[in-house]
Each structure stands twice: as C-alpha cells, then as structure tokens.
C-alpha cells in the first residue's frame, strides 16, 4: 500500500501539477464544445491541447508533449482560426444546439460512452509486460527510420496530398 505523500513534498507537488493539468484538459474540452462563439471554441481547444501536452509529459514523453504543442496549438488551431475568419459565420445567428433533442441525446450518448469505457478500463486487469527499451528520443528516431520507415514515407505522402488537395479545393470557384 502506497502511503500518501505530504502535499508540500516534491511528490505531493507533482501530484498537484498533474491534477491541474487534468483540470485544464477537461475544462478546455468543455469550453470547446459548449461555447456560443466559434472563436471561443478554438480558444478552449488550445487550452485543452496544452493540458493534453502536460498529461503526455507525465507519461514519460516530453518529445510527444512538445510535438503536441507545436503541431496542434501552433498549426491546427491557427488553421481553424483562419477558417473561422475566412468563412465568418453571421454573429446574429446562434451557433448553439442544432435541435431541441440534440442536447439531451448528445449528453446521453457521451455520458454512456465515457462511463462505459471508464468502467471497462478500471475493471480490466491489464497485463504489464517487461520493458525492452527506455522509449527515449534516440530510440524513437532509430525505430522511425528502420521498423516504421514505410509508414513514415506513407504519412509524408498523405501530408503532401492533403496540402495539394486543400489548395485545389479551396481555390476552386474563384475567378482568375
């Protein structure tokens, strides 16, 4: 049985920081899905992703945490902001729920799925395997260019095609 660490010891403060990160993640996600305006929704998304990056840091992966902030906060959120500015929705029209029933149905589905997955995860007895390496950045680099090199190439092609396709689709219908 693990004893509870003192709140003001190093372990206790680490636990407090983790709880703060979890709270940031959940609150950001709720803002992203509930705010009236899309700009606030994107701001909530950014807050949520910063929290997720903190959670990754607690999972021994500072590299993935950094990539999370770089790619999601730095690129995806900014792209969504650009789209909101280009396809500006009329402020007069509410962007709220799409029907009288969608709120309760959505909440019911979400609560059912979350509770189901959580109970499933807690009840299952997960087998822990022996670690064969330390998961450091060096090992990630080596495996990315040896075992996973085909996937690496494929994802590069997917990104290239996505960029070209986005340009073609967004440009179509414009004069000149």
């Amino acid at each position: 049985m693990v004893t509870s660490p003192n709140l003001f010891s190093v372990d206790g403060l680490v636990g407090v920081v983790f709880l703060i990160m979890v709270a940031i993640t959940i609150i950001g996600g709720l803002i992203a899905c509930n705010s009236e305006r899309l700009v606030r929704s994107v701001a909530g998304l950014i807050v949520c992703f910063v929290g997720v990056a903190g959670v990754y840091y607690f999972l021994n992966s500072p590299f993935v945490a950094m990539m999370q902030i770089l790619i999601y906060v730095g690129a995806v959120a900014v792209t969504i902001s650009f789209a909101i500015m280009l396809a500006a929705p009329e402020e007069k029209k509410k962007i709220g729920p799409s029907g009288p029933l969608s709120g309760p149905i959505g909440f019911g589905t979400a609560a059912l799925l979350s509770a189901g997955f959580s109970i499933l995860a807690i009840r299952t007895d997960w087998k822990v395997a022996e670690k064969i390496n330390d998961g450091s950045l060096k090992n990630i680099g080596i495996q990315l260019l040896t075992d996973y090199s085909l996937v690496f190439e494929l994802i590069s092609i997917v990104l290239l095609i996505a960029i070209l396709g986005a340009l073609v689709i967004a440009r179509g219908g414009r004069e000149g």
């Binding site: 509870s4 709720l30 509410k94 799409s98 996937v151 994802i155």
Partner: protein, 108 residues
Amino acid sequence: MSVLTLYNNLNTFLVIGALLFGIGIYGIVTRRTLIGMLIAAELILAGSSVNFMAFNRFTAPDPVVGQVFTLFIMAVAAAEAAIGLSIIIAVYRQLKSIDAEDAVQLKG
C-alpha cells in the same frame, strides 16, 4: 492510494481519454456548424492519443511504439484539418453558410 499519486496509475489516464472522447462525441452531436464539428473531432483524436500513450507508458513492452503511433495520429489529424477546412471554405463560398443543415444540395 491517494489523490496525489494518481499520475502513477494506468486507470487515471484511461479515464481521461474516455472523458475527452465523450466530450468530443457530445460536441459532434450537438454542434450546428461544420467548424464546430471539426473541433469536436480533434478532441476525439486527442482522447485516443492519450489512450495510446497511457498503454505505451504502463503496459507495452516497447515504449517507442505508442509514441510513434501518436505522432502518426497527429500527422493524420493535421491532414484532416487542412482538407476539412478547405472543404468548409468551398461550401461557404457556394452557400454563404457553414451550417450543416444548409448543405443539402444532394437531397433528392
């Protein structure tokens, strides 16, 4: 086990992932605009990434696999966001609206 040692427990991270997934599902069902749905889809992808990273840290024999998988999820999410947003801009140019209920031209 106390609240302050939760970060050393696999179940905590699985519950966080499930909550993010649920919030994303709620957003997809209730949102009216296409951009709002896209934002909710990003939340679902974040939830699945948290799950992969949690198993990677606690149970997987090779702790590289989950990180590589999460990186690929990020790349696919970026591609999805780029394509989705350009489609939304094209729809907006055609219909002057990003409301999902207005894009019904294929309706018979």
